[in-house]
């Protein structure tokens, strides 16, 4: 499944390059909800985007690669372990770092492509590699320290936004979406993503 996804992403990136489309940078604010809203603070993420076609096309697809670093909401979390022994062993968890590298497939639908200000609907698919460094302790049964354990996660991101044409070769898009994990080997992640990107069309 992972190989198939990577292959799809690569093909899409090559396709974008072949079409000689648009490329740009995106800054986003990632606000965790659900489980992670109590554990991680909102983070700023950065992405490099490449898209097919032109800024006036109704539909364009593309790819992205990005990075975000989250900070924990507090130094120590009061965790525990049960270990099936009929006892609750008190413990703690310290998250030293929580970072994400994302590779995504983007799809944009411009509702009024001929206008200077144009509403956009998007649907993205992201593959995340999440790197976590943490200390785990539960009295008498767990004492572990991990430096950069990797987990993966597959998420979708439906989003809406508005595109503003600055000139014939530059446009700015702002919007928001909700990233929802589909599968992965880490606790499911849901977050609000508010983004701004600046795209250059040669």
């Amino acid at each position: 499944m992972k190989k198939l996804l990577l292959l799809t992403l690569l093909l899409q990136c090559f396709a974008c390059s072949a079409i000689y489309g648009q490329y740009g940078l995106q800054a986003s604010i990632l606000a965790p909800t659900g489980y992670y809203q109590y554990v991680l603070k909102p983070a700023v993420g950065a992405e490099f985007l490449i898209k097919s076609g032109d800024m006036d096309d109704i539909y364009s697809f593309g790819g992205s690669i990005g990075y975000a670093k989250f900070n924990p909401t507090q130094d120590t979390f009061r965790t525990y372990a049960t270990g099936g022994q009929g006892f609750l062993f008190p413990g703690y968890e310290v998250i030293h770092s929580y970072q994400e590298i994302s590779v995504g497939v983007t799809n944009d639908l411009r509702l009024l492509p001929e206008r200077k200000i144009c509403p956009v609907i998007g649907f993205d698919l992201y593959f995340y590699v999440i790197t976590v460094s943490e200390d785990d302790y539960a009295e008498t049964i767990i004492q572990s320290s991990s430096q950069g354990d990797n987990y993966w996660l597959l998420s979708i991101l439906p989003r809406v936004g508005v595109q503003y044409k600055i000139n014939e070769s530059l446009y700015l898009t702002g919007g928001f979406g909700r990233s929802m994990s589909l599968t992965g080997i880490v606790q499911g992640q849901v977050l609000w993503k508010t983004f701004f990107n600046l795209i250059y069309c040669p």
Binding site: P42, F77, I117, F176
Partner: protein
């Protein structure tokens, strides 16, 4: 230009809405309260009760109690782990001895972590002194309607045929009674069982077994009563227990004091 400005304001609002701060971790944890510790029907047993006032950000998975004789203690100390109840209440029976002070706390855990309640201090009341419900003169053994004054009475621990403590009353003429317990007896009543059925505690009563002249066990049923006196002595009494000797049932009553 005006339109652009409206869009700009709209986006500012969206950013404010969707990048609101994360929630405090403490809000994700359950809030638990230690409700009460009350003596239960069984000897040396307390019923502990707790209550989840807030489940936190996920369902409560575990609840429980910990306690100790000292005010500062570890969550694993005498821990009782329970599953959660949908109504938020939880309770457990624990062993706690009379006239002792204990410190209790309740705990609850959900997906995010665990919390503990405030520490609750409770002193288990001493058992009331108990004495046989019949009128017997002090320091007297009534055997087959004859009054005897015991020549010696003593209590002793160590190696015994039954239990870990016994009281022996020697009332002369070669007669003696041994009363066996599985503990140093304190204020209260002790159910009499035959030596064959002797256990320290049968689930509802502490047990005593009596043997006459080291050979003749007393019949089952009836009670031995213990009173701990202020001078440090202990008075043992019983009414009309029956011992079978030489195929004859003899009633025996007593009120004896020993140190």
């Amino acid at each position: 230009m005006k339109k652009t400005y409206v869009y700009y304001l709209f986006f500012c609002f969206l950013i404010m809405f969707f990048t609101r701060c994360s929630k405090p971790y403490q809000q994700a944890l359950p809030i638990v309260q230690f409700v009460s510790a009350v003596p239960y029907g069984l000897a040396d047993t307390l019923l502990l009760s707790g209550y989840i006032t807030s489940a936190g950000a996920s369902d409560v998975e575990y609840t429980g109690f910990s306690f100790s004789n000292v005010p500062t203690f570890d969550l694993l100390s005498h821990q009782v782990l329970l599953n959660s109840n949908p109504d938020g209440t939880f309770s457990a029976l624990v062993t706690a001895y009379n006239d002792s002070t204990y410190y209790f706390e309740a705990f609850a855990a959900n997906q995010y972590g665990y919390t503990v309640s405030n520490v609750f201090k409770y002193t288990v009341p001493a058992a009331k002194p108990d004495s046989a419900p019949c009128n017997i003169p002090r320091n007297t053994i009534i055997f087959n309607d004859n009054n005897w004054t015991p020549a010696s009475v003593f209590g002793s621990g160590g190696q015994n045929p039954y239990g870990s403590y016994y009281v022996e009353a020697d009332f002369g003429a070669g007669y003696s009674i041994d009363i066996y317990f599985n503990m140093v007896p304190t204020n209260g009543e002790y159910l009499v069982l035959s030596p064959n059925n002797f256990v320290g505690y049968n689930g509802s009563h502490y047990i005593a077994t009596l043997i006459m002249d080291q050979d003749y066990p007393f019949n089952q049923n009836g009670y031995v009563y213990i009173t701990q006196n202020k001078d440090g002595s202990t008075t043992l009494s019983f009414c009309s227990l029956v011992v079978n000797m030489f195929s004859t049932n003899f009633p025996v009553s007593a009120k004896i004091t020993y140190h």
